[in-house]
């Protein structure tokens, strides 16, 4: 469309550059030149809002029964929406596990994507589409990290 380098996670960097005044070199650049990215992420929010409002699927996610059984074993009761309300709601925020999922997870997403220089859209989709091997390395690491935490750490945190 506009010959831009597609990637969502850099929006986080632009927000830092735009709203947190500091002398950190990483955030001293002309973020206005990348403003298209902020329009794009705002659009994502609006699109998701409209989709959830008008064309949402009334049924729960058709997930693997094994996952449901496993999560029920950890005390997750609500499988109705796209997200488990037991973990991602304002009331869950008051619990240690909610805090780790919501705030801890967010921090890792922000830190990790910038350290890796891209996220799922920038590396896995755009990078692989242009057949770049560093993006394949990054994607493999995304998946490896996810496998590790989903299988070994998430079950532990949910039971906190």
């Amino acid at each position: 469309m506009g010959n831009r380098r597609f990637g969502v996670s850099s929006a986080l960097r632009h927000i830092c550059a735009a709203v947190i005044p500091s002398g950190i070199p990483y955030f001293r650049y002309s973020w206005k030149k990348e403003a298209w990215n902020l329009f794009f992420v705002t659009g994502i929010g609006v699109g998701a809002f409209l989709a959830a409002l008008f064309i949402s699927n009334p049924d729960p996610v058709q997930m693997n029964p094994k996952l449901i059984a496993e999560l029920q074993g950890y005390g997750i009761k609500d499988f109705a929406g796209l997200m488990p309300n037991d973990l991602f709601s304002w009331s869950a925020l008051l619990s240690l596990r909610g805090l780790l999922f919501i705030v801890g997870g967010g921090f890792l997403v922000g830190f990790g994507t910038r350290y890796a220089g891209g996220c799922t859209s920038g590396h896995s989709i755009m990078g692989l589409s242009t057949l770049q091997w560093p993006s394949l390395v990054a994607t493999i690491c995304f998946m490896a990290g996810g496998f590790l935490v989903a299988n070994l750490v998430v079950p532990y945190i949910i039971r906190l």
Partner: protein
């Protein structure tokens, strides 16, 4: 003139480790990077909206789907991501073969990405966060839009993580 423009001189720029920021590439002619007018940026907002609808309808913003993916319990996410990459490869191939241009007539270039170790360490850290939040950065915005307002805190925390990376960047191995 704001401070950021001082860095427009290539000699004063730091190494660009960020693949998503084209305007930071020193090889980029500065005049090609005029700040776009607001109305012309709206098209990106519209593209984002379409992407947002797709993220919700394909259920990739679902924490449950992400857990399934990392437990190899469902093909769903692999199907969505795999087809996105396939369409991407085909599109890039067509752009190259047909010499397609952007809407404003620029030729479209794909620049090679140098490898650095951050892709390994950062990639793993992001993977940890992805499994916890069930969201990569795009879906964070979509989860908020879809009504999971507490994710605003996840987003703020992600912005904090980004800031922390920027702060420590020079001390981390790349």
């Amino acid at each position: 003139m704001d401070k950021a423009h001082v860095l427009d001189k290539p000699s004063e720029r730091e190494l660009n480790t960020d693949f998503e920021l084209r305007s930071l590439d020193s090889s980029q002619p500065a005049e090609a990077w005029k700040v776009e007018k607001t109305w012309s940026l709206l098209k990106y907002g519209f593209a984002g909206m379409v992407f947002g609808v797709i993220l919700v309808k394909s259920e990739v913003i679902s924490w449950f789907r992400i857990q399934e993916m990392f437990r190899l319990q469902s093909f769903h996410m692999y199907g969505v991501l795999g087809s996105a990459v396939l369409v991407g490869i085909l599109s890039v191939w067509m752009i190259r073969i047909l010499h397609l241009r952007s809407a404003s007539g620029e030729s479209i270039r794909f620049r090679p990405r140098p490898f650095h170790r951050g892709q390994i360490y950062g990639g793993l850290l992001f993977g940890f966060g992805w499994a916890l939040t069930g969201a990569c950065p795009g879906p964070l915005f979509a989860q908020i839009g879809a009504g999971f307002t507490v994710v605003i805190l996840t987003l703020i925390s992600a912005i904090g993580g980004t800031w922390a990376y920027g702060r420590m960047k020079d001390k981390l191995p790349h």
